[in-house]
Amino acid sequence: MTALCERAIVSLRSAPSLPRHVRIQYDPVRLAFAVLSPEKVFWPNDISLDILRRCDGQSTVERIIADLAADYDADPQDVADDVVAFLQEWSDKLLVKL
């Protein structure tokens, strides 16, 4: 198998973004934010949504972790573990671009 790209691994310097086939959208019928992708619709919880909204292609993972730790008044190392694991999972499903 010859792929045109390699599996991306999250680093603190990654600046994640949403690929073109993925978007976050408020659904006025269900009063919730949905993540739309080719076949699936996801309903992220508040924390996941906070991470995804910061995937603007500008903010680094390091910055996202610092922001969330401040917002949630949480231990940065705990936040880091969660954010990195979340982004790796979503990147592996091609829902986030690193």
Binding site: M1, T2, A3, L4, C5, E6, R7, A8, P19, R20, H21, R23, Q25, D27, V29, R30, A34, L36, P38, E39, V41, S91, D92, K93, L94
Partner: protein, 376 residues
């Protein structure tokens, strides 16, 4: 119903039954509609608008071949303006120059392109269309050049199951972000051609191993969705995510259905958009309520811990094989008719000599004896 009625999330719009390909497993019904039965542009626009109001977030624009509709750009633009995610499901043959770019410009979110084979000879033979493979490759390149994300869809059966590794390579080489290895579901034309399409168990097992290994190896590179073959399954699929649960489809003439093959169930009558609003059909149509939720279930479904996982499976398969649309899907190991699936696999193998591909190709207005529609 045992639970609250939910708004639909997905809509499959079969804009037309016309298609340049004649695949013998087409999911369209045997009685295909001619162009003069198709809804006009304004009616589709009204329908998409009502669908969005009702809660639909994704529209799959399909057919037949949806690009044969000259108003496709307009339909995509309207969905896009409504905030609805649009997925174009195309055979990728004969799309005029500039149109793919126009679809992207109109706001198309994603394009799904079918390949009947990974090899040109297979694609051309299964779709009964010379040169189709080359045209599909060109469509894939044009889609990627227009910035459109791409899924390659490979419907799998005994005539191409050995090409699964090549399908994976093909999808990678075309820069697809997603590949569907979709074992053919035996309804519509596929049911009519079942004896010629059914793979054997050894090939199915090999395929499952190949796909599982590739899924692991290609994590983060390409998603592979594997639609497993019902006749070799232990549990059924939640057909359409459950009957009338979160998705529906619309035929070219505006008939609203819970699934592709629903019209094969003779006890049900389906309503057309225009005669009633979409919200009325979704909420009140007796056909939609017939198998919604879990209340309609009998044993073994009724007390099964999986009843809200697979929702009893496929009603049309239950009808086709058990003769009762309210029976448990025979794909389920708990069905009293489950052994019939394996018997059918064995029977098709016996009635089938190697290399036999006298398909009954899909055709609008075919004679139902099928006799003059066979490949010589």
């Amino acid at each position: 119903m045992s639970e609250a009625l939910l708004p639909p999330i997905g809509m499959l719009a079969e804009l037309t039954h016309r298609c340049p390909l004649r695949c013998p497993y087409c999911s369209n019904p045997l009685e295909l509609l001619k162009a003069n039965r198709e809804l006009d542009t304004q009616t589709w626009l009204d329908l998409f608008s009502q669908a969005a109001d009702l809660g639909v977030l994704q529209v799959h624009l399909s057919g037949g071949e949806p690009t044969l509709r000259r108003d496709l750009e307009q339909l995509i633009a309207a969905c896009s303006a409504l905030g609805v995610y649009t997925n174009l499901i195309t055979a990728g043959v004969g799309i005029a120059e500039g149109r793919i770019e126009a679809f992207a410009e109109a706001g198309l979110d994603h394009l799904q392109l079918s390949f009947q084979g990974a090899r040109p000879a297979t694609t051309d033979r299964i779709g009964n269309h010379q040169g189709s493979h080359e045209k599909k490759l060109e469509t894939a390149h044009r889609a990627r050049a227009a910035g459109l994300p791409l899924t390659i869809n490979a419907p799998v059966h005994r005539h191409n199951i050995e090409e699964v590794p090549e399908f994976i390579d093909l999808a990678l080489s075309l820069d697809a972000e997603r590949l569907e290895i979709a074992n053919v579901q035996y309804s519509g034309w596929a049911l009519a051609n079942r004896d010629l399409l059914m793979p054997d168990r050894a090939a199915v097992d090999r395929q499952a191993d190949i796909v599982a290994a590739a899924q692991e190896q290609l994590a983060g590179i390409m998603n592979i969705d594997f639609v497993t073959p019902d006749y070799f399954a232990i549990y059924p699929k939640p057909c359409m995510g459950g009957w009338a649960r979160d998705a529906f489809m619309v035929t070219p003439d505006g008939t609203v259905l819970p699934c592709h093959a629903a019209q094969t169930i003779p006890s049900l009558r389906f309503e057309r958009f225009g005669d009633r609003s979409l919200a009325e059909i979704w909420t009140d149509s007796p056909a939609f309520n017939a198998f919604r939720g879990t209340e309609w279930m009998r044993e073994p479904c009724r007390s099964c811990e999986r009843r809200e996982v697979d929702w009893g499976g496929c009603r049309c398969q239950a009808l086709a094989i058990v003769g009762d649309a309210a029976a448990t899907d025979p794909a389920c190991i708990k069905s009293t008719a489950h052994a019939r699936m394996a018997t059918l696999v064995d029977e098709t193998r016996r009635s089938n000599t190697a290399g036999d591909d006298a398909f009954m190709y899909r055709r609008i207005g075919r004679n139902f004896d099928g006799g003059n529609n066979r490949r010589r």
